[in-house]
Amino acid sequence: MKNLLEINNVIKTYGNYTALNNVSLQIPKGSVFGLLGPNGAGKTSLIRIINQITMPDSGTIFLDGEPLSPKHIADIGYLPEERGLYKSMKVGEQALYLAQLKGLSKEEAKKRLKYWFEKFDIASWWDKKIEELSKGMAQKVQFIVTVMHQPKLLIFDEPFSGFDPINAQLIAKEILQLRDEGATIIFSTHRMESVEELCDDIALIHKSNKILDGKLTDIKRKFRSNVYQIGLSTENNDAVSSILHQNFEVLPADFKLFGDEFICNVRLSKNQSSNDLLSVLSNQGEVKHFVELIPSANDIFIEAVSKNN
């Protein structure tokens, strides 16, 4: 079984409003899957369906080859975007309660909590009430509660909100480690730099429809624009400029190098290779900077969404 989660033709409506319109996704086992989309696109609706909080109007969902059913609740860990804990309940009691709701025995839950509390160096919080903790501290507890029953599928909705950069890095590291230990992770976020950092695959949902999905590298290849950033140390900038304009499509550039090098962006046509450009450049001066502009997840997101508006 290659995919842990298969979502086929899911439709969900609320009254007259269609939240998900025939959405299908395959989430490969052991991957970090970025579920992206603007606000109100339908991500939360989809996540709630995967969590069996709501049921789809039609469509099927398979987890590890089996139709999704209540027994899978223990196989899923969910960190919602809007999250919280019982304010007046003690940290330890609360974590035990939530673990038991996920099907762990009390003894097992205690053992695992001890491991995680020591790992995050928060063992002294056990008898504190949540309302005595800062937001970032409570988020750590929340993260532990999400992962401690060792689910096959973890769903993180904006996991880094509320964390300072240091703790965000800690959580990112934990997420990657959980993936390496075999968990499959659905990761929903607006922070595109963390998509670049963490995601193996992505899907883009916009206005209730899936408009893009696949491996992040494949998608980037698909969106590549064949634009190269070049920087050249030369005697005569005008001469270089005119030679480039004769042979290539030259675009204005906006980046900085150390000196007063000649800089520009060049888009290659289909029958031109980067070596063609490089050989022209190397005759004109010393090449200081030569790099293909790979579209960022952010660029892809904006382009795909605006194309579909």
């Binding site: 999250r83 804990l85 007046s88």
Partner: protein, 441 residues
């Protein structure tokens, strides 16, 4: 442990550990008893001050025997002092008032010519007591004038007391009827208070889960219906626990207080009953006052009432708290609950009013019978009727209707709850709630 059990346990512990629960549970019986003792103490203190009343009898009709002193009133004959002098003395001295009987031969005219002067306006009971003293003296004088022998009249007096039985052979009396009304009213009222207090506690707990945003984490582990049911059962258990503790505490405090106050506690218990009733009832049972009251209470169907109280409390609570839960789920904060609270409170209050107004007059009249079958009012009205004896047949119909309705209402409320707990922002209208009912899954 099943998830429902876990939820019930958490809700129960969260409720019971709450400071207000502990304070309410242990303080309110003390306050109740303390207030009772305080009122009694004040009543006694109030009566302890002896009022001195003087009278000037120019008609020479009255003697010292006609104005016999009571515990709280001391009479003095100032006839020899004269009206004007007496008035001055009373106004200056430590006297309460002066009664002036003018010299008039006609008894009829005299009857409306007697005056009472006092420094402050006298209590109704004082005037009543003076009037009855004068009335009886004047009547006796008139009877004597008519040549009627007073002794014969006294010996012709006869007392009537109808003994009441039902067909099971149980004897009842006015005293026990009063007790029945009291016990029924307390049970019905207590039930209403419990439903409101614990129902809004369910509501607050739902709102807390919504505002703290833990709700989405919980419902990814359990079904919303389980969560709602667990909440209702957890709170109901806390309510029952509180009720039981109250029962035990009241029993202990009552016993201690009774032995501490001794006879005075007995007086307090029976002060509402007239001496005549007591006398007859005493003869019937052959016991002293305290024992009599206890025996009468014991003759009520206490076990039946206890069981029925628990049943109707649970039934009524399930019915109403599911509505409270739905309201809590529909709104984001407590201030938004008001528009939805009125329709919930209305039948509860109606139940208490109907109960108080009709059960006292005729416990088995058509209005109380109807209201003790309508599930929204039956817990309250039926509890008020139970002390008067309600047949098991009637009870079974009323109870089945209640169970059927609460199952239906829990199902209905769960549909609103399920959608509402994940909705934030706009305050919903009734139309929205209706729409939610139709959402699938």
């Amino acid at each position: 442990m099943s998830k429902l059990k876990l939820i019930i346990k958490r809700e129960f512990i969260a409720k019971v550990r709450n400071k207000s629960f502990i304070v309410m549970t242990f303080l309110s019986p003390l306050i109740t008893v303390g207030m009772g003792a305080l009122v009694y103490f004040f009543m006694k203190k109030n009566d302890e001050k002896v009022k001195k009343i003087v009278y000037v009898d120019e008609s020479r009709l009255f003697s010292k025997d006609d104005f016999s002193d009571s515990k709280t009133i001391h009479y003095e004959d100032f006839t020899s002092v004269g009206i004007d002098e007496t008035k001055k003395k009373v106004e200056a001295g430590d006297y309460y008032g002066v009664l002036i009987v003018p010299k008039i031969d006609s008894l009829e005219i005299l009857a409306t010519s007697i005056e009472f002067y006092s420094k402050e306006s006298p209590s109704l009971s004082l005037i009543n007591s003076l009037e009855s003293k004068i009335e009886s003296k004047l009547r006796n004088t008139k009877l004597t004038n008519l040549g009627i022998d007073l002794d014969k009249i006294a010996s012709s007096k006869i007392k009537t007391q109808i003994k009441m039985f039902d067909f099971s052979g149980e004897e009842s009396s006015k005293l026990i009827n009063g007790l029945k009304i009291g016990v029924g009213a307390i049970a019905g009222y207590l039930l209403m208070m419990f439903v409101i207090i614990y129902g809004s506690s369910v509501m607050r707990s739902v709102i807390e889960e919504k505002t703290s945003r833990i709700i989405e984490i919980i419902v990814s582990s359990v079904k919303p219906f389980q969560l709602m049911l667990g909440k209702i059962i957890g709170n109901a258990s806390a309510g029952l626990l509180q009720f039981l503790i109250w029962g035990v505490l009241l029993f202990i405090i009552g016993t201690v207080a009774a032995s501490f106050f001794g006879l005075s506690f007995t007086e307090l218990q029976t002060s509402g009953v007239s001496a005549e009733q007591l006398e007859t009832a005493k003869q019937a049972v052959g016991a002293d006052k305290m024992q009599l009251v206890i025996q009468e209470i014991l003759r009520l169907p206490i076990l039946k009432m206890f069981v029925l109280f628990i049943f109707y409390f649970l039934g009524g609570f399930m019915l109403y708290s599911s509505l409270f839960a739905a309201v809590g789920a529909a709104v984001d904060n407590e201030t938004d609950t008001q528009q939805f609270m009125l329709p919930i409170m209305l039948p509860l209050i109606l139940g208490v009013y109907v109960g108080f107004a009709t059960v006292i007059n005729d416990p088995h009249g058509s209005i109380p019978v109807i209201f003790s079958h309508i599930p929204f009012t039956s817990p309250i009205v039926m509890l008020m009727r139970v002390p008067f004896g309600v047949s098991w047949g009637e009870l079974v119909i009323s109870m089945s209707l209640l169970v059927a309705t609460f199952v239906f209402m829990v199902w209905l409320a769960a549909k609103i709850y399920r959608v509402g707990i994940l909705m934030y922002g706009k305050k919903p209208t009734y139309k929205d709630l209706y729409k939610w009912l139709k959402y699938k899954g």
